[in-house]
Amino acid sequence: MQFMLLFSRQGKLRLQKWYVPLSDTQKKKISREVIQMVLARKPKMCSFLEWRDQKIVYKRYASLYFCCAVEDQENELITLEIIHRYVELLDKYFGSVCELDIIFNFEKAYYILDEFILGGEAQETSKKIVLKAIEQADMLQEVRNTHIACLFVLVYEVTIGPFLSC
């Protein structure tokens, strides 16, 4: 895969993952071009577009377009299913995912994507395993927080607690 873009029907870019080295200006130009092309497509058209020397595979989920650019010889149908698998992961993680989830938790969307696809290739295709990995990482932070919270409580009870009881 060369890049993945998620954008709304108004053309607002919600997520952009680039798997090839490009300058910022190039990225902006390409995004504009691809978004325009995909938004111009009609509902009954097929999910594949030729663009430059690549193929664009896209699918719309509610208000979001998921769009991947793959090399010419790449398998289009499996790319469609990569998109679907990513949506499933987001859905499981956020619970009935919607566009707002991705807007407000964009950093999480990137992490989930990284666990699934790395360097443009699928690295783990088991939904369970990917979700478990993310949950584990989340847990790490929770555990630390809980530790800190317990510590505070302890300190409080030791230092301040007795004063209150008087």
Partner: protein, 832 residues
């Protein structure tokens, strides 16, 4: 419902994002962003060190602003600091920031690499994965230098966790793609290949992408992967849907892995080992069989996954191109998809069939679907699908169906999308030429192309049709007639005028017998389009007019009137003006013989590679034109010399090259076949007395017209003449001639109408300088020049004494070589 509570939600960030979303205008948004940027900047610069949480929050805000599309020029240092935190989410944000906002500051890079190194050696799999993800996302050369040695070790180490192995494999792949010279697989090859046998399907999935890429560059080193891949594939394909547990996707076992395995196998030829090959063929047959079974689920995901494997298998079958049975089955399967409900499948089937069409085993099978494909071309609503259908028609075209296919493509062209017209035109042109048995059909097709899609008919196409007409006597009359009729259409495309002008100029005589296409009618037809055309076309038409004068002397006065008109000889375009003036003069002073020689019919063009195929290949990219086609193109007809009509007229004959070294120490004037005339004066009367002394300019003018004359000299002489005009000749400089040199031959010849101007120009055209005031008789011409032959230079003097009363002239030539004098005399005599 925004889920902020997962993990460690940053309230400040959520508020900021809400603020941005609530902004009513772009200005308000920018204002809010600038406010926040100022805030963050002050916090970063502030005295007290920020705690991890705040730093993380601000860095994340910066990231958000950047992703909105605004530029960020600070925050990198803080992001890098976050990397060394041992809080997971802080690290995460740090890594995310630096992978999105890649910075080339070498100090930062050093710090980043340091942090990554620490995480890689931390033995904490989550941290290791974070680091590996970062390397894979950035993939810079500096990272490759730092880590390309370390990562393979991690990949194959026994104690590496599976998730880390996966990340390591794809990280290595990214580094290999960007810096292949730094990733040396050598000692790791066999162990990497062995990963194909790993128990963990995820590891296999990741490793196989790496192996596929590496084996494309080093097939021999990795060829052991073939048998492993086959056995893995075989196990998956024959497994029940419950076997693979979470790797089953909507009742399809491991679809991604299957596709990747099939892709890997396409890097290699069919396995030589009989057992392996047998297993693989069995696999492929199973896949084809499954396609015929009723679906296990109605969901589109199931059919997509299943068909993804099927299409990849078909790709492999096509790649092998050695199992006729499989090829025909594949073709039939695709044939079924051609009429499937789902547009995606129809699209993919058309695309796949294109490749099948070029295989000799399946070409016939593909042709059986021609009606379906033609129907798709006419009825599909999606332009991409129609385009695939057009591509398939092109691929399946052969002698038996060429006429039908070309006709269909022409009618498709009438309503085709503008973006694909040029490509379609090229394809139709190639097919028409390749399969033409009857060249009048070819001519018709190209003229139709011009009529339907004139704007998109590139030069290569119409040059080619002209070249073919010139090379084939049998079609010249037909071409002239057809072009004549086509030109009568009220709205005629300019390319048609170009082709028409050229062909009528060459072969108009073939239809001149018919009163409806008599010479004057032809001329008027062409001239009626003249003012609507662009400059290059008009230039071409002017050349056609002078050819008409040659072909049809009766049109001479009419055409001369036109040439003489102000809009031609005072035309603001230099090329048009020059042509008009020169053609006008040529028509007035050249004898019919000279004119006939100069405007002789174009000789056949030499055979050369078709430029149309090359243009199509360039347009579509490497995959579009198959090797077969290119080779055939080489074997087939030649290419028109792109140049304009002027160059074309004398192209058959060698032109005089320009002199190089000034060996005699004499000032060398401009070469005979010189460059563009000076742009000084627009109005030039080439033959005016005043112009005679302006050697440089005039000689080039004259030489252009008389290029053919001179060139005739050269041609007849059978040696290359370097002719150097001499200026400012003084007595002392004429040292090459002494008293003993033989005199030239006296020539008495009938005195034709001789104008002084004409004589001057002929002499000058030779390259000799006219010397004024040397001969006491003003009627005489005296010239001097140095003839440079391959062997030596020969100085020569010339005197031409015309005698009007006697209607004779005497030509004396004196040169340092006897033979040269004789020859020069003979040549000039012919001229006079």
């Amino acid at each position: 419902m925004p889920a902020v509570s997962k993990g460690d939600g940053m309230r400040g960030l959520a508020v900021f994002i809400s603020d941005i979303r609530n902004c009513k205008s772009k200005e308000a948004e920018i204002k809010r962003i600038n406010k926040e940027l100022a805030n963050i900047r002050s916090k970063f610069k502030g005295d007290k060190a920020l705690d991890g949480y705040s730093k993380k929050k601000y860095v994340c805000k910066l990231l958000f602003i950047f992703l909105l599309g605004h530029d960020i020029d600070f925050g990198h240092m803080e992001a890098v600091n976050l990397l060394s935190s041992n809080k997971y989410t802080e690290k995460q944000i740090g890594y995310l920031f630096i992978s999105v906002l890649v910075n080339s500051n070498s100090e930062l890079i050093r710090l980043i690499n340091n942090a990554i190194k620490n995480d890689l050696s931390s033995r904490n799999p989550t941290f290791m994965c974070l680091a590996l993800h970062c390397i894979a996302n950035v993939g810079s050369r500096e990272m490759a230098e730092a880590f390309a040695g370390e990562i393979p070790r991690i990949l194959v180490a026994g104690d590496t966790m599976d998730s880390v192995k996966q990340s390591a494999a794809l990280c290595l792949l990214r580094l290999y793609k960007t810096s292949p010279d730094l990733v040396l697989m050598g000692e790791w090859t066999s162990r990497v290949v062995h990963l194909l046998n790993d128990q963990h399907m995820g590891v296999v999935t990741a490793a196989i992408s790496l192996i596929t890429c590496l084996s494309q560059k080093n097939p021999d080193e990795f060829k052991t992967c073939v048998s492993l891949a086959v056995s893995r594939l075989s196990r998956i394909v024959s497994s029940a849907s419950t076997d693979l547990q979470d790797y089953t996707y909507y009742f399809v076992p491991a679809p991604w892995l299957s596709c990747k395995l099939l892709r890997l196998l396409q890097c290699y030829p069919p396995p030589e080992d009989g057992a392996v090959k047998g297993r693989l063929v069995e696999c492929l047959e199973t896949i084809l069989n499954k396609a015929q079974e009723p679906p296990k689920s109605k969901k589109v995901q199931h059919s997509n996954a299943k068909n993804a494997i099927l299409f990849e298998a078909i790709s492999l079958i096509i790649h092998y191109d050695s199992e006729p049975n499989l090829l025909v089955r594949a073709c039939n399967q695709l044939g079924q998809f051609l009429q499937h409900r789902e547009t995606n499948l129809r699209y993919l089937a058309l695309e796949s069939m294109c490749t099948l069409a070029s295989s000799e085993f399946s070409h016939e099978a593909v042709k059986t679907h021609i009606e379906t494909v033609i129907n798709a071309l006419k009825t599909e609503r999606d332009v991409s699908v129609r385009q695939r259908a057009a591509d398939l028609l092109y691929a399946m075209c052969d002698r038996s169906n060429a006429k039908q296919i070309v006709a269909e493509m022409l009618s498709y062209l009438e309503t085709a999308d503008y973006s694909i017209r040029e490509e379609m035109v090229l394809k139709v042109a190639i097919l028409a030429e390749k399969y033409a048995v009857d060249y009048s059909w070819y001519v018709d097709t190209i003229l139709n192309l011009i009529r339907i899609a004139g704007d998109y008919v590139s030069e290569e196409v119409w040059y080619r049709v002209i070249q073919i007409v010139i090379n084939r006597d049998d079609v010249q009359g037909y071409a002239a007639k057809t072009v004549f009729e086509a030109l009568q259409a009220p709205a005629c495309h300019e390319n048609m005028v170009k082709v028409g002008g050229y062909i009528l100029g060459e072969f108009g005589n073939l239809i001149a017998g018919d009163p409806r296409s008599s010479p004057l009618v032809q001329f008027n037809l062409l001239h009626s389009k003249f003012h609507l055309c662009s400059v290059p076309t008009r230039a071409l038409l002017l050349s056609a007019y002078i050819k008409f004068i040659n072909l049809f002397p009766e049109t001479k006065s009419t055409i001369q009137e036109v040439l003489r008109s102000d809009s031609q000889i005072r035309n603001s375009d230099v090329e048009l003006q020059q042509r008009a003036v020169e053609y006008l003069k040529l028509s007035s002073i050249a004898s019919t013989d000279v004119l006939a020689t100069v405007l002789e019919e174009m000789p056949p063009f030499p055979e050369r590679e078709s430029s149309i195929l090359a243009k199509l290949k360039k347009k579509k990219g490497p995959g579009a034109v198959s090797v077969n086609e290119l080779e055939e193109g080489k074997r087939e007809g030649g290419e028109l010399n792109g140049g304009g009509e002027r160059g074309g007229d004398s192209s058959a004959i060698a032109s005089t090259p320009s002199p190089s070294a000034d060996l005699l120490g004499l000032r060398t004037g401009p070469p005979v076949t010189a460059a563009a005339p000076s742009t000084g004066s627009l109005l030039v009367d080439v033959f005016s007395e005043a112009g005679v002394n302006d050697d440089g300019f005039l000689s080039t003018q004259v030489s252009k017209i008389y290029n053919t004359v001179l060139v005739v000299f050269g041609y007849f002489n059978k040696k290359i003449l370097h002719i150097v005009p001499l200026n400012d000749l003084s007595e002392r400089e004429l040292v090459t001639i002494n008293e003993q040199t033989p005199q030239g031959v006296f020539v008495m010849a009938p005195f034709l109408k001789m104008f002084r101007a004409l004589t001057c120009t002929i002499l000058l055209g030779l390259g000799m300088a006219l010397l004024e005031n040397v001969d006491p008789n003003p009627e005489n011409f005296v010239c001097a020049g140095v003839i440079q032959t391959k062997a030596q230079q020969v100085g020569s003097l010339l005197r031409l004494e015309p005698n009007a009363q006697a209607q004779m002239y005497r030509l004396t030539v004196r040169s340092s070589k006897d033979t040269v004098s004789k020859r020069l005399c003979e040549l000039l005599a012919e001229q006079f």
